[in-house]
Structure formats: structure tokens, C-alpha cells
């Protein structure tokens, strides 16, 4: 415990792993280091198997322990009842009608919704809406996705081994009520809903995340108990996200889905969350109203109106004129400064950071030659890209797995030590091109019209023209971009994404199964890279956290040595709001990519 705080992440991590620090100590020190993002969860989860007794509370799991320490707001309903006297929302019975409570107006960066079936909701905007309507067995703590806490479950269980299978048993809260749907009454959530929902998530027909639930079976024990059985054991770090309030983990209502059919739930979500879906006007608004039977207590807001406003200047103007309370911002430091300079407005910068990196297609000319790929890497000036966003909105990374956000990534020093930092060096780039005998290289790239993508492509274009590579850029809209890059339109693909752990990054971007078009289950391996499959699989089932991290680092180094991808930076989320808005929680990071709005969110009048 005598280490100085400057000891840094690795030391902290080592300390945690050796059990030198209690979880609480890890949390505190991590916060002091400014490591607010999911790294903390990773650290905690990475050492989750062997140090239960570190906790003062004995058998309790980590998130519950930290929860008790850091907040009283999130505790279940009994506390809410006690403390409700001073709030206008009163109690279960005598709650004020929503009309008396303020409606929060939220500006989305989208022209329209995509899909409000939580098992298909993938865009930031859809996730935003879904997050307010649905719950899961466990949840990322609102505003801080580095911590898990129970949601529909009463606690986060420890896994047990039954033969060679791993079993997770979840106890459900009682008295959780479903929103009334278009064709269903409100009713109490039971294990049937949970099993139905998880099975839906595991089915390719009814979920975009089915692959994540392969080898899992779901069993109802009684109305309030569910067992999840895994063919291959997973560490909590890899398992818990699958049952958390993100993507496939959201629990949908069996009765509502069966009554409406899987098409109708795209626009009529029925959940158990603090806000209930009321109305959707395509390309205009989604209206949510407070669900006063919410199990954590009636929301302090009367509802949330989400507006589709793809034009950033309209969002900014509406925020300034007071017609929006919260708006999706621009991921630019200049924007943050500008909004903070306006009376009554505040810009929030929060995690999770989405990593932006270039994938190089190693299977196609002219990038099949490693020297050409390295030449391009040396021609890229990370600082130029960083300047597009500016600190604190973006930070540089030296491996695709972001070292600042989770374990398994490479720090700048580690990358330099391994000789894979690829600092800007145009002379080296030209020399490599010359060695490769590559002259008059030119190719066409498709770019998304999203500013954060388009700008990086345009900077790349200018950088490559410096070393004599002629790139023409074809700008398309964002969904088209995603469609085209999956059809191998680009030899260089820019992708910006957060994945909850290194395994997700590697499996989706660098495992041969995920190779676009030709892979067995094509995903996002744009590089056509197939040289780390064994390592990825080995790391996935490695139960020793230390060894797992070491393997992940090795994979990162190998990818960089082969220059299959050039990591650049990660971009944080930026939102603007009226100062009157109080989210009801600290804003550190949010996997849902928006400053979560919960039953505790308020607007001062």
C-alpha cells in the first residue's frame, strides 16, 4: 500500500491482482488516476475469481460492495420509499400525474429510428431509447459503465461448475411490473420472460447478437429463479456483459412480443424501465412517459421527448434557444468550449471512448505487400487526426485495444518497446515504398458522411498524397458505408467502435471467422487477417487473469508487426445540456453512449 499514485495503471493492476488492494482501494486509486472508464471494471473482473475475501462484506460481490459505498440513489425500492418524502414524486399510490413533472427534450443525431427491438437496436440513437425502456438481469451503473450492479436480479451471482459446464443462477426481484403494451396489460415479470428473452437473443432470426449466446442454455427454476448454463466456462469479464443492459442482455416481455409479433416490437417496445413508450412520429419524435410503477420508484421526470435532428447546427441552435434540454454534441474540443461558453449550457465529455483505427486489407494489392502497409502507417500522423477532435474529446492509442480503457492494450511505452509504435515518419514511408518497388499507387475508398469518419478519411487522403499515393474518396451515407465496407469496397477501412473487452475486439476484427464476405461468419475483419486465431482462442479460455492479459498484449503486438491495423485514437462521447438538467448520477462513462436518463433525472424549473 505504500506505492505512490504515479505508479500508474499497470502497478495498480498488479496490486489488484495480487490482492494487495481491496476492491474499494482499487476503485479509489483508479479514480485518482483518472481511470474512470471500464478499465476499472476490467481490473475488478479480471481478478474476480480469487479474491472474494478481500471484501469487508465477505461473500458479497464487487459491484454490490462498491454500490453500497458510492451511492444511495441506486438502492432498491424500500430506500426509495423512505426518502421519497422530500420529493414531489411521492409514493407508489399518490404519485403526481406526469403532467405536473417536467418533460425532458432530447435531440438525437439521427434522421429516424432504426429498430427499438433491443436485440436489434445497434445505432447510438436506438440504444438511447431502448436503454430508458428496458432492464436486464444486471446493469452497468448509470453514468459509469465500469461497474456492474443488480438490475432485475437481486444480486450478481458467482458461477458454479457442474461437471464441465458453468452455471450462473440469477434470483429475480419480485414485483417488477411490465409496461402495458398495445395488446397486453401490465403484469409481473417472471422467469418465463427472462428465459424467453434470452432465448430470443440467442436466435439468429430474432436477434443481431445471437453469436454471443452460442453454447448457452436458459432454464427456469421457479418464477423468480433462472439458470444459465454454459458449455464452455467464461470469466465474469466475458460473461457478465451478455446479461447486462446492453444489446442482447435486455429483457423483453414474452406476452407483448408474442401478442404483437416480432415486427411490431420494432416500433412498440414494451419494457420494465423507468420510461414507457408512448408515441412515435417517424423522422420527428419519440415520446416516452414516466412509468410510475417502476421498481426503483416513480421517475422524477414526467417523460422524455426525443427528437430526430440529424443536422448538428439545428441541434446546437435548439439547445441555445432552450428548445432542447439535452442534445447529442459534436466530438470536438472546440464545440465543448463553445457550449461551455454559453450561459446556462454545459457540455459533458464522457466515456466510453470509441476506438478509431485503420484496417489494412492484407489480401489485396497494393496492400498485400507488408512494406506498403508499413509505409502507409508511417505516413499517418496521429497528431493530425487527434487535432480534428482535440483533447479531452479524443486520446491517442497505440493498439486497437485501448490501453486507457481496459486491460490487454498497449501503452505508448509498451508499443515503443516492442517497436510497433509507428510514429510519424514520412521519409521512412517513402523509403519503404521504394523498397517495395511500389510506384504510382492509387485506389478509391468509400467514406461515411459522418463527420468523424469523413474527416479522418480526408486527412488520410492528404497524408498519403504526401508520399505519392493517390486516393480518391467517395462519400456515401453512413448505413451505405457500413454496407459497402462489408462487401470489401475498401482496402483501407476506418472503423470507430467500442467493444467491452479485448476478446470482442480481436474476435470481430482479427479472427479469420470474421473475415468479411469469405469468412464462415463474416463480421468486421476487414483486414482479412488470420494470423492470431490460435492466440485469440487461447486467451478467451485462459482463466488466469495475468496470463490472459499477457496473451492479449501479444496479440496486439503481432497485429501491429504485421500492420493489419493502425490504431489512432479513441473518441469520447460529447453531449450538450441545459445546466438545469441533473442526470441524477455522475457522468463518467456510458456504454449506451448517451448520458443515461433514469428515474432520478430532474430538470430544475
Amino acid at each position: 500500500m505504500s506505492q505512490k499514485p504515479e505508479g500508474g495503471v499497470s502497478e495498480l493492476l498488479a496490486g489488484a491482482l495480487e490482492g494487495r488492494f481491496s476492491r474499494r482501494e482499487v476503485m479509489r486509486r483508479a479514480m485518482a488516476l483518472g481511470l474512470s472508464a471500464p478499465i476499472i471494471a476490467s481490473i475488478l473482473a479480471a481478478c474476480g475469481d480469487d479474491d472474494d475475501d478481500d471484501d469487508d462484506t465477505g461473500g458479497d460481490d464487487a459491484p454490490t460492495a462498491t454500490q453500497a459505498e458510492t451511492d444511495d440513489a441506486e438502492t432498491p425500492e424500500p430506500d426509495e420509499d423512505d426518502g421519497a418524502g422530500d420529493d414531489e414524486d411521492g409514493d407508489d399510490e399518490g404519485e403526481a400525474p406526469p403532467a405536473d413533472r417536467p418533460i425532458l427534450r432530447f435531440g438525437l443525431n439521427a434522421g429516424d429510428l432504426g429498430n427499438l427491438d433491443p436485440h436489434f437496436a445497434t445505432s447510438t440513437n436506438d440504444r438511447t431509447v431502448v436503454d430508458m425502456i428496458f432492464n436486464a438481469l444486471i446493469r452497468y451503473k448509470p453514468g459509469d459503465s465500469s461497474e456492474f450492479e443488480p438490475d432485475l436480479a437481486t444480486e450478481i451471482p458467482e458461477p458454479e461448475m457442474e461437471g464441465d459446464k458453468q452455471v450462473w443462477t440469477f434470483k429475480l426481484r419480485e414485483g417488477v411490473m411490465w409496461h402495458p403494451g398495445p395488446q397486453t396489460e401490465s403484469y409481473e415479470l417472471t422467469a418465463d420472460d427472462v428465459v424467453y428473452s434470452l432465448e430470443k437473443s440467442a436466435n439468429t432470426e430474432t436477434s443481431a447478437y445471437a453469436a454471443e449466446y452460442e453454447g448457452m442454455t436458459f432454464e427456469k427454476v421457479d418464477d423468480y429463479t433462472v439458470r444459465i448454463i454454459l458449455d464452455t466456462p467464461l470469466s465474469p469479464l466475458l460473461f457478465l456483459p451478455k446479461v447486462a443492459n446492453y444489446s442482447g442482455g435486455f429483457i423483453v416481455s414474452q406476452k407483448a412480443v408474442e401478442a404483437m409479433g416480432s415486427d411490431a416490437i420494432k416500433t412498440h417496445p414494451v419494457g420494465t424501465g423507468p420510461f414507457r413508450f408512448q408515441n412515435y412520429t417517424p423522422q420527428n419524435t419519440i415520446e416516452l412517459v414516466a412509468w410510475d410503477d417502476y421498481f426503483r420508484g416513480a421517475p422524477k421526470l414526467g417523460g422524455v421527448t426525443l427528437r430526430f435532428m440529424p443536422d448538428p447546427s439545428s441541434r446546437e441552435l435548439a439547445l441555445q434557444s432552450g428548445e432542447l434540454d439535452v442534445a447529442f454534441g459534436l466530438p470536438e474540443a472546440t464545440w465543448v468550449d463553445r457550449i461551455n461558453g454559453i450561459d446556462g449550457l454545459k457540455a459533458d465529455v464522457m466515456g466510453v471512448g470509441e476506438v478509431a483505427f485503420f484496417s489494412f486489407d492484407i489480401s489485396r494489392e497494393p496492400l498485400a505487400d507488408e512494406r506498403v502497409r508499413k509505409a502507409i502507417a508511417y505516413a499517418i500522423n496521429r497528431e493530425s487526426h487527434l487535432a480534428l477532435f482535440g483533447a479531452p474529446v479524443a486520446e491517442l492509442v497505440y493498439s486497437v485495444v485501448p490501453d486507457q480503457l481496459m486491460v490487454g492494450g498497449l501503452s505508448k511505452e509498451e508499443a515503443e518497446e516492442a517497436g510497433v509504435a509507428y510514429h510519424y515518419d514520412p521519409d521512412q514511408a517513402r523509403q519503404l515504398l521504394e523498397e517495395a518497388g511500389a510506384e504510382n499507387i492509387s485506389f478509391e475508398l468509400v467514406a461515411s458522411e459522418f463527420d468523424s469518419y469523413r474527416r479522418m478519411y480526408e486527412v488520410l487522403q492528404a497524408e498519403l498524397s504526401e508520399i505519392g499515393i493517390d486516393v480518391s474518396i467517395n462519400i456515401v451515407d453512413h448505413p451505405t458505408y457500413h454496407s459497402l465496407i462489408r462487401e470489401a469496397s475498401n482496402v483501407i477501412v476506418i472503423y470507430q467502435a467500442f467493444r467491452p473487452n479485448p476478446d470482442a475486439y480481436f474476435s470481430q476484427f482479427f479472427h479469420s471467422d470474421s473475415i468479411i464476405v469469405t469468412g464462415p461468419s463474416p463480421n468486421t475483419n476487414f483486414a482479412h487477417y488470420d494470423r492470431v486465431d490460435d492466440l485469440i482462442e487461447q486467451a478467451r479460455v485462459e482463466t488466469d487473469a495475468d496470463a490472459q492479459i499477457e496473451l492479449w498484449k501479444q496479440i496486439n503486438i503481432k497485429i501491429l508487426e504485421d500492420m493489419a491495423a493502425m490504431p489512432i485514437l479513441f473518441i469520447n462521447q460529447v453531449y450538450g445540456r441545459s445546466e438545469k438538467v441533473d442526470y441524477g448520477h455522475e457522468l463518467v462513462s456510458s456504454l449506451a453512449l448517451y448520458p443515461q436518463i433514469t428515474e432520478l433525472t430532474t430538470i430544475d424549473s
Binding site: 429510428l113 436489434f120 432470426e205 443481431a208 415486427d263 420494432k266 420527428n284 439545428s314 434557444s321 428548445e323
Partner: protein, 312 residues
């Protein structure tokens, strides 16, 4: 007249069919894949393929075509590829806002444009004429979206006079008008330029006509010549042409709706093109076509009513 009207109406039916076919052909060539658009960036190839199947995108193209035309005959515009909601519901919501905006802009255009046109015609080749003409030319040189942005910036943000986005509900007229004001002004000013120019040229024609000369020769005062003879003669083409302006307005309203985040057909169209929701794009074009053919028909009929020579 009844026969003439029936004839015209009958003629517009094959036109509509031709337009519908043309629309279908054009829209099906739009690149991009609505299934991926719907699933977003995390979806696997299988999920995309499954959705394609469910959306009916794998049907042969002629089946899709007959479904389309058959649907139109039943008044069914299909379901959005993104939301699975009937497109007609969305159009029913959007259309009144676009019509409201167009009507308001036309009114502003007529009220401001006609006087400008008359005055510049009377004082042609004087300083007033030059100023008026240059201003009206500037007006129609102004890109609608840019004017909108400038108005937004000054009137809403700087001076806080108007809301910046959305449209008021029709049940609340005051709020509705408040929301309508800026977009209507930005379109109306451009419309003023068009109508002003047209009025000027119609007036110049009329002022040269024999009957005006005769009236002048008879020694009538100039104002009487203008009001009783010239303007009356000019009014018929001006008002009839308002129909054509209404059509051009529908076009300019697209960007205005986008800039002001106002619900409407234009914004819906731009949004659907971005989403590759070609069922919706196609349906909006169908609605535009119906509106346009209807306005043309109306203009034709009015002409026939006013000028019997047209009824051949």
C-alpha cells in the same frame, strides 16, 4: 365545359400510371442495402440476410412491381422498410405540414410580390425598377437553405423571437403559427422574388396591349388605366400561374424543412433516401406526382374556365 373537364381528368390517368412506373424504375436502382441500414454497424451478415428475406427484397423485381402498382390501386403505399409502419400514416402526418408551409409561403409571395411587380413595371428602367429587379433576382439566386440558416441564426438564436425547430400541433393555432413563421418567411421571400418578376413581365405585356393604349388614348387617368384595365388583365395569368409556383415551392420546401427540422414530405424524402428506405422514397414520389398532376389539372381547368379558347 363538363366534357372538357372529363377529358382532362381522363388524360391524367395514363400520365399518372406512366409516372408511377418511371418512379418505380428509378427508385429500385438506388444503391445501398436497406437491410444493413436497418440493422446498423454491429449486425452480422446472417442477420442482414435474414432481414433481406423478411423485407421481400429477394423477390423477383416484376413481383415487386406488380405489388407496387396493385397496392397503389388499392390506395396502399406499402410499409416502411425501416419501421414496418404503413407509409401512408407517415405521409398523412407529414403532408399537412408541407401544405401549410407552401400555402403560407405562396400567400407571402403574392402579398409582397404582386405590388413589387406592378411598381417595377410602372417605373420600368428607373432607379426603383433596378433596385426591385436586382433584389428580386438576388432573392431567387439565394439558396433556400442558406437564407433559412441566416434567419434561424438571427431571429431564433440571437433575438429569441421564434422557435428553431419542429412544427406546432394543428390543434394549437398560436403555437402552430409561431413555428410556421420563420420557414414560411424564408420560403416566402424567395417566392416573392419569383412572383414579383413574373408580375412585372405580365404587366409589361399588358401595358403594351392595344386595349390599354386605347384606354390611355381615351384620356383615362393613369391609375385608372392601371387598376381597372391593366392589372385586371394581368391578374388572371398571375393567379393561374400561382399553381405552377405552388409546385416549385414543394421543391424549395425540401431544404427549408431540413434546415428547420420541420416535419414534412421533403424532410421525409431526404431522410428516406439516406436510410435507403426505397418503399418510402417511392411512396413520397407517388404523392408528389399525384399532387402535381392534380395542381396541373386544376390549372388547366381554371384556364379553360377563364379562356374558352383553350377548350379545343
Amino acid at each position: 365545359m363538363a366534357k372538357f373537364a372529363l377529358q382532362r381528368i381522363a388524360l391524367s390517368i395514363p400520365t399518372l400510371l406512366a409516372v408511377f412506373t418511371l418512379i418505380f424504375i428509378i427508385v429500385r436502382v438506388i444503391p445501398g442495402d436497406p437491410a444493413t441500414a436497418a440493422l446498423g454497424d454491429y449486425a452480422s451478415q446472417e442477420a442482414v440476410e435474414a432481414l433481406r428475406e423478411r423485407m421481400g427484397l429477394n423477390e423477383p423485381i416484376y413481383v415487386q412491381y406488380f405489388d407496387f402498382i396493385g397496392g397503389l390501386l388499392r390506395g396502399d403505399l406499402g410499409r416502411s422498410l425501416i419501421t414496418s409502419e404503413p407509409v401512408i400514416d407517415q405521409i398523412r402526418f407529414a403532408l399537412p405540414h408541407t401544405v401549410e408551409l407552401a400555402v403560407a409561403a405562396i400567400l407571402i409571395g403574392l402579398v409582397l410580390g404582386i405590388p413589387v411587380g406592378i411598381v417595377t413595371a410602372i417605373y420600368r428602367n428607373t432607379f426603383i425598377d433596378y433596385v426591385g429587379r436586382v433584389l428580386s433576382l438576388a432573392g431567387l439566386s439565394f439558396p433556400a437553405f442558406y437564407l433559412g440558416i441566416l434567419l434561424l441564426y438571427f431571429f431564433s438564436v440571437r433575438w429569441g423571437l421564434f422557435p428553431t425547430l419542429g412544427a406546432g400541433d394543428f390543434s394549437d393555432p398560436v403555437k402552430n403559427l409561431h413555428h410556421l413563421a420563420l420557414p414560411a418567411i424564408s420560403l416566402g421571400l424567395i417566392e416573392t422574388a419569383y412572383i414579383g418578376r413574373m408580375t412585372r413581365s405580365v404587366m409589361l405585356n399588358v401595358l403594351n396591349d392595344d386595349f390599354v393604349r386605347t384606354a390611355r388614348a381615351k384620356g383615362l387617368p393613369e391609375w385608372a388605366v392601371l387598376v381597372r384595365h391593366a392589372f385586371r388583365a394581368a391578374l388572371i395569368p398571375i393567379v393561374s400561374l400561382a399553381g405552377i409556383f405552388a409546385i416549385s415551392l414543394i421543391g424549395s420546401s425540401v431544404l427549408t424543412e431540413v434546415v428547420f427540422s420541420r416535419p414534412g414530405l421533403g424532410r421525409m424524402m431526404v431522410g428516406s433516401i439516406r436510410q435507403r428506405d426505397y418503399i418510402t422514397v417511392q411512396s413520397i414520389m407517388v404523392v408528389y406526382a399525384v399532387i402535381i398532376v392534380f395542381i396541373n389539372l386544376l390549372t388547366d381547368l381554371i384556364y379553360g374556365l377563364v379562356d374558352p379558347r383553350v377548350r379545343y
